[in-house]
Amino acid sequence: MITELKNVRRMGENTTGSLFFENGTIRGWNLDLEAQQVLDGRGGTVLPAFLELHAHLREPGQEQKEDLESGLAAAAAGGYGTVVSMPNTAPVVDDPGIVRALIEKSERLGFARLRPSAALSRGQQGEALADLRALRDAGAVMFTDDGRTNEDAHLLRRGLEYAHSLGVLVSVHAEDATLRKDGVMNEGTVSEELGLPGNPWAAEAARVARDVEIALLTGARLHIQHLSTARALEVVRDAKRRGAPVTCEVCPHHLTLTDEALRSFDAIYKVAPPLRTQADADALLRGLLDGTVDCLATDHAPHTQAEKERDLLEAPFGIPNIEVAFALLYTRLVASGRMSLEALVDLFTAGPARVMGWAAPQLEAGAVADVVVVDLEGELEVRPESFKSKARFSPWAGERLRGWPLLTVVNGRVAFQR
């Protein structure tokens, strides 16, 4: 079947045209083809669909927070074509059967494409390696104990070596839990004034420093998740200069919010790693601009409303943001003139692809027909009540943003339409 996506513009161009797909593959621009299906891009800008390397979809076991259907629909609404899910579910994704079941179900759903990650250690307990080869053969694309910090350096070393030999990337939640202790927010003036247990920047920087050395020791590629501090970013910058095989990601909330938000005592702002200072957020932005940061990742972490209405000690960590990530950063970074659209799109598409070792998503003939049409002109308010995600709350509720996805196509099929 041939599909025509008409009335769309390419990045940096003013005129609109048509993009043609056939059977899940891009055929090309403005072709003279008879289309069986016509989609209207409404004058929006067409981009390769985004890649998400870090989303918590909560299935199996925590479907009251999110499930594959709501989570992958939310991803499609955010413009994502492919999502790497995190394995800290209940049970943990450390069994090839779970990996297969997740992939099969997601294919039936037809929203964003799912590429599950699996636990590096059995049960994410950090004591014994999971069955990495069987997990890879079942379709796991990344190994991580995210949600847990890899305290045992020896286990991380062996896991990196083994995963590397299997051609699978390992990613880490880089935080020294013994230094973090019971910290629920960034340690600093705000935490001390509020009397809340703090999590110091050094907990992140110290662990990144350790993990970078292990990556150098093993030669294995290591991906560092959700960097939040200026200092840890500096460690990565140094490590890259020395040729260490490391990549890293940054999340939208760490770029746009600070620990000052906790003065509201609203647990929406409770996230791990925590919201840091303005100086950290500024440093992360510089890291995006100078290429130290390889990609953006959302760390979409949905919870029930009731869980987030607990006090700051009891409430769980996490911000749901996969639906607003692009619009938020387009508005804050591109529309405000701090970054080019090309650079931002790269961080949502080619950047994550490079981290994973996948072909860069593109709009040329022969590429997979994963595209998103975004409206860079019109403004819309963030309305959590209309989220596809089950987590219908947002730190950015009520904000007016530009850059919202109008249409997301995955494998040539419509996965979202506003």
């Binding site: 600093g188 004034e193 809340l196 005592f265 006090d311 009891e314």
Partner: protein, 303 residues
């Protein structure tokens, strides 16, 4: 109107509460210790953390003013049943109470109770954050004994990091013109608390030099296991508030303690029982100050 902390409070407002406390003390000295000010109002004490002393003081204050008092006590139990703080507060509100007095182990919980309940809310201690009526009764006790707090040096010694009493006093006393020095072993003394009117030092002799009041804070055994302190003996040796340390202070310096005390640990028993100690008076004044606060929050609102 709420009393959650002292953000946005003026010295005038504090003094008018302390002036009312003078009147309440007179009430407490009468044979019939009761006034009708809060008749017809139902006050809910929502204690998510145990504290018999504080609860008793608040409940007495409310009853002395003829309010009805209902108590809600919840440990971690209601939370483990999956009930949010918001659910609990909305349920209590549905029973038509008129005000909340809330105690909670999490900093900021009193703000959430005020937000979710939409009723006058009085913070009876939330996490490490604030214990405003304790600070008010400390200020009141000092004002009664020493007159004005203007220019008064107050040393607060002990586990500053985990102390809501220290934070509330460091907020309130400078508002009234006093200078506060927070003192404790470095791991228990967050550097970030320093600001105009609030100095920090790890040296107790420096802290009490020239002080007109010295407050000892409760120190908990768990701080050793938490890695904050080497031993209780070492703490007592360096930081105990005793006659020898108080000799460095002003000649007429007084002793305060928010209680409950570990005698001969953070404070020497002999000093605590001496005539320089205002500890008994703090407890006594606590009821009067809480009556004054309830009056200002609830009667002021009805008018």
């Amino acid at each position: 109107m709420h009393l959650l902390d002292f953000q946005g409070w003026s010295a005038e407002r504090v003094h008018s509460i302390l002036d009312s406390a003078d009147i309440m003390r007179e009430v407490l000295d009468r044979p019939v210790k009761k006034v009708p000010a809060l008749q017809g109002l139902t006050i809910c004490t929502a204690f998510f953390e145990n504290s018999t002393r504080t609860r008793t003081s608040f409940e007495l204050a409310a009853r002395r003013m003829s309010a009805d008092v209902v108590s809600f006590a919840a440990g971690a139990s209601s939370l483990s049943k999956g009930e949010s703080l918001r659910d609990t507060i909305e349920t209590l509100k549905a029973m038509r109470v008129d005000a909340f007095i809330v105690r909670h182990p999490a900093s900021g919980a009193a703000h959430l109770v005020a937000r979710y309940g939409g009723l006058p809310t009085l913070n009876a201690g939330d996490g490490r954050r604030a214990h405003p009526t304790q600070a008010l009764l400390d200020a009141y006790t000092l004002r009664r004994r020493l007159g004005s707090l203007e220019g008064l040096k107050v040393a607060i010694i002990g586990d500053v990091r985990h102390s809501r009493v220290a934070r509330s006093n460091a907020e309130l006393l400078p508002l009234l013109g006093a200078e506060v020095t927070l003192c404790g072993p470095a791991p228990l003394l967050p550097r970030e608390l320093a600001r105009p009117g609030v100095k920090l030092t790890t040296d107790p002799r420096e802290a009490v030099k020239g002080a007109g009041a010295v407050m000892a804070l409760r120190i908990q055994q768990e701080r050793m296991a938490g890695g904050f302190l080497p031993s209780m003996a070492e703490y007592a040796l360096s930081y105990q508030v005793n006659e020898r340390l108080l000799a460095e202070a002003r000649e007429d310096a007084v002793l305060l303690h928010p209680g409950p005390m570990n005698l001969d640990l953070e404070v020497s028993g002999s000093l605590a029982r001496s005539e320089r100690s205002l500890i008994g008076e703090q407890v006594e004044n606590g009821v009067a100050v809480r009556m004054a606060v309830l009056y200002h929050l609830l009667v002021g609102r009805r008018e």
